[in-house]
């Protein structure tokens, strides 16, 4: 379970997150929507402590993420993250990309790490690209590689930061399919996304962020059908 309590985040004088309260249950898929600059990506970075926070608390499975005593590197293994810019490691082959962290972070043997890598690459449909360097992969394939890389740490949670925003339109589908597959397998996911179709069809709940605050949260039917907030309705009217 991920619990976010009264979370405040500043970039200098800029107040990006203004008191977020949010709970994500095991097995749940949460989509976070909202305009750019609404703080939704920052929320993800705060959850796995790639950003510091100024006030409040993030608790993952009972462990306070930002506490000094927390072994953040250990915690992050349980929180897979996929970025907008897919960030595949260009100097490593697909298999090496995926196998590196199991090997040096979880201390798996070379053989084990490779087996995990092959399994996860097949999982995301890259079983035929094992020894290819990222430069020879399309954007969509690189993004699936990034998903496999995160899955290789066997995380309980996956955080997606606009995983399809940087892709050419014709490549968006394959990545969304992979995310859908994970959701069906019961992965707990927080997806910051601009894909309203995905948010509506795949998520259990949808949260709408506006100017650093969570304006509204509820099942897709509520958000897309009978949104309670005027802001939410306005936003959705514009994106559709």
């Amino acid at each position: 379970m991920i619990e976010v309590k009264d979370l405040h985040k500043y970039f200098g004088a800029l107040h990006v997150l203004k008191g977020i309260d949010l709970t994500v249950q095991k097995g749940e898929v949460l989509s976070v929507i909202g305009a750019s600059g609404s703080g939704k990506s920052t929320l993800l970075y705060c959850i796995n402590a790639l950003e510091t926070i100024e006030q409040g608390e993030v608790i993952v499975d009972g462990v306070s993420v930002h506490a000094k005593s927390t072994d953040i590197n250990k915690l992050r293994q349980n929180l897979g993250m996929v970025f907008q810019q897919w960030n595949s490691f260009p100097h490593l082959t697909a298999t090496e990309n995926v196998a590196l962290a199991p090997k040096i972070v979880s201390g798996k043997s070379r053989q084990e790490a490779r087996e995990i890598a092959v399994k996860q690459l097949e999982h995301v449909g890259l079983g035929d690209k094992l020894d290819v360097y990222p430069s020879a992969l399309s954007g969509g394939q690189q993004q699936r590689l990034a998903i496999a890389r995160a899955l290789a740490m066997e995380p309980d949670y996956m955080l997606f930061d606009e995983a399809t925003s940087a892709l050419d339109p014709e490549l968006v589908g394959e990545v969304l399919d992979t995310m859908r597959l994970l959701a069906e397998e019961g992965m707990t996911m927080i997806c910051v996304t601009h894909e309203m179709g995905f948010a509506r069809d795949v998520s259990d709940r949808v949260a709408y962020f506006h100017q650093g605050m969570m304006e509204e949260i509820g099942p897709p039917a509520q958000i897309f059908g009978e949104a309670q907030s005027e802001q939410t309705r306005k936003f959705l009217a514009n994106v559709r």
Partner: protein
């Protein structure tokens, strides 16, 4: 032109010259290895270090880049004498070249670090890697590729610079040539042959580094 060239004494000295050529290579390669390690540290210090460390690195880099290499050799040669430190010619050249290499390479590395997207570090950290693991496994290999070409050029430069050893009494290829030339007064012939040897050394280094680069960076 009533001068007759005498090449025979030069050819008789050729084995000695080639030996000295090996010494040139040795000093150049060693100074590159030291320069790469030191240059990496200087670049990191300049990019991320605390103020005094940053200041130290910046001074080193700027002095190395903005004064003649010969000045730097003189400094390690007799400038240090003011503090009672006297290095042998071999070490004057090795230390001087390493100092110079480190300064130039540090700037290359700094550019390399800035060319690797900062999101790479984030991605690595998000997988649970420590900062050190992320640097060693993800960032530095990419930096090395970016700076590989300028680095091979600098390797050539290190070979050429080592010829300054002649002026501080070191008998690498140039020093050895001068030694023979001054014994026989066949200055032109000796230095012509030495020029050819340098040319060959440089070409061999460039060919080798291309081969190594081709093996190393397949992506």
């Amino acid at each position: 032109m009533d001068y007759t060239f005498h090449w025979r004494p030069v050819f008789r000295a050729l084995p000695d010259l080639l030996d000295a050529g090996l010494l040139t290579m040795e000093v150049a390669i060693l100074s590159m290895v030291i320069g790469i390690v030191t240059g990496l540290l200087l670049a990191l210090a300049r990019l991320t270090g605390a103020a005094p460390l940053r200041w130290f690195a910046t001074t080193w880099i700027e002095v190395a880049r903005n004064t003649p290499a010969l000045f730097q050799l003189f400094f390690f040669g007799f400038g240090l004498g003011a503090f009672g430190i006297h290095l042998s010619p071999y070490f004057i050249v090795l230390v001087g070249l390493s100092f110079n290499n480190a300064g130039y390479l540090a700037e290359n590395f700094r550019g390399g670090f800035q060319a690797v997207p900062p999101t790479q570090l984030r991605a690595a950290r998000s997988l649970g890697m420590t900062a050190t693991q992320a640097y060693v496994r993800i960032i530095i290999p990419q930096v090395l590729r970016i700076v590989y070409h300028p680095m091979t050029n600098h390797m050539v430069w290190a070979v050429l610079m080592s010829s300054l050893g002649m002026l501080v009494g070191f008998r690498e290829l140039s020093g050895e040539t001068q030694f023979f030339a001054s014994k026989t007064f066949r200055i032109f012939e000796y230095f012509a042959v030495t020029a050819v040897i340098y040319y060959v050394i440089v070409k061999v280094i460039l060919a080798l580094s291309r081969l190594i680069g081709w093996r190393l960076f397949r992506y």
